[in-house]
Symmetry: C2
Amino acid sequence: MSLDTYPAFPVWMGDIQSRTEAALGRALPAAESIPARLHTAMRYSTLGGGKRVRPLLVFAAGEITGAHPDTLAAAACAVECIHVYSLVHDDMPCMDDDVLRRGRATCHIEFDEPTALLVGDSLQSLAFELLARAPHTEAARQLEMVRLLAHASGSCGMAGGQAIDLASVGKTLSQAELELMHALKTGALIRAAVMLGALAGSALSTAEHDALDRFAKRAGLLFQVVDDILDCTASTATLGKTAGKDAAADKPTYVSLLGLEGAKSFAAALEAEALDCLAGFGDRSRRLLELTAFIAHRQF
Amino acid sequence: MSLDTYPAFPVWMGDIQSRTEAALGRALPAAESIPARLHTAMRYSTLGGGKRVRPLLVFAAGEITGAHPDTLAAAACAVECIHVYSLVHDDMPCMDDDVLRRGRATCHIEFDEPTALLVGDSLQSLAFELLARAPHTEAARQLEMVRLLAHASGSCGMAGGQAIDLASVGKTLSQAELELMHALKTGALIRAAVMLGALAGSALSTAEHDALDRFAKRAGLLFQVVDDILDCTASTATLGKTAGKDAAADKPTYVSLLGLEGAKSFAAALEAEALDCLAGFGDRSRRLLELTAFIAHRQF
């Protein structure tokens, strides 16, 4: 594709976000199908909001391996279902007890606690069903994608990071401990999004796979550091979720550890390292480069 | 195998239960691995108890298609992880708020609520990881198994049945409504266990598949009817979980709908129907026959 016809990043981003929204809309059971309250709540929590950072990463990484857009849409929906399930469960009273998410009442506030629990549980099941139904890919590849997403979601990935986070409240963590926590809590799923996108297409060489994995780890950490900065600098209205809650909950963050300026310098260094990992991919990694810059400099 | 060397049912059952326990012990992360509290709680909730009815069904159905025992062990662990995750979440204060399970304190009592939430979430992820790693099977078969278990677990299966159950408290349901609820809540996973066991081996003809599926639906319903009978006739000590809690919670059961004798007659009819579905399989279905009788006549 010539540079002239290559859509600008904001156009591409808007297109992927629309595609993801539409694909999720089709993937989720109809609101009126039995049990209607559960299905209504699943759609409420999943549709109509969110930056769709993980789906964007899936599609951007898919450009590297020339993956089919329908395979990428399935992978993007799967990883977003896992992300949304984690938000719904994290917002519950026994966890962060939050009332605002994506500018709206959280699931247990809009519906009720048992429904929120079942929404999260059901979204996780749906994620694996969608991945196992992804079209235009080989069965062995798809199984690898299921293994990757399952491992990234579980006790040695995202849910494990949550557990470390819970145990860390009120404690002073070192940067190494904080990085381990976030490498699991946020990083594992960000990394999975990148690797799922790549797995959806043709095979990478070992060197390429390793370079992409190094990129994905840095991108995950970068996303978290920027989140911590925004949690302390942006308003609740801008974020669409409660601002300043990490500090209020006495949770360790990169800002509490490094100070605001230190956290910003760390983010800049991570961005440079992440971009450096993509050097060998040439123009195929253009969307990932642009997306990394977007993640680093977003204001919400 | 001659009848002389064919182990008696209780011997076979004990063997499968031991194998399942050992396989789960290997599949679960070590208790001391980070995050240790989460992994300890996952092991506490999963190991050392339970009748392992679903793993028994997986292995019994696997005899019909000559499945490899290691494939069956992976499928058995996966379906048991889904079952245990559902118990851990169902016992939480926002759901059934129960303190006793398998003769021990429930997960959120022994640990805490956030840990119980993450234990359930992590066990679900682990289930799909185990299934996607099952050995001695074809990738396309494995994907079919992932789809089957994911669908049976989610909002159109087990979790959906939970949602209907929640909505039914204090209401009078018809037998058709009660059967729909249990077909999802308990039946979907029982059925998945049978079909996963069969999928782990050689292919069934369409007629055989349909006969096994009819069996599996009746076995799932039978299991629930017997559960309702035991909930009203057995003691908490015998059950290892709080007895009489459905009646106390004003939940509709087969006993409340049909009376105790009516429920017993219904169970006997279901048992006969289930056994009838197996007629075409000959000696290959011997374990499923024995297991059905066990499910129908168990005292705990």
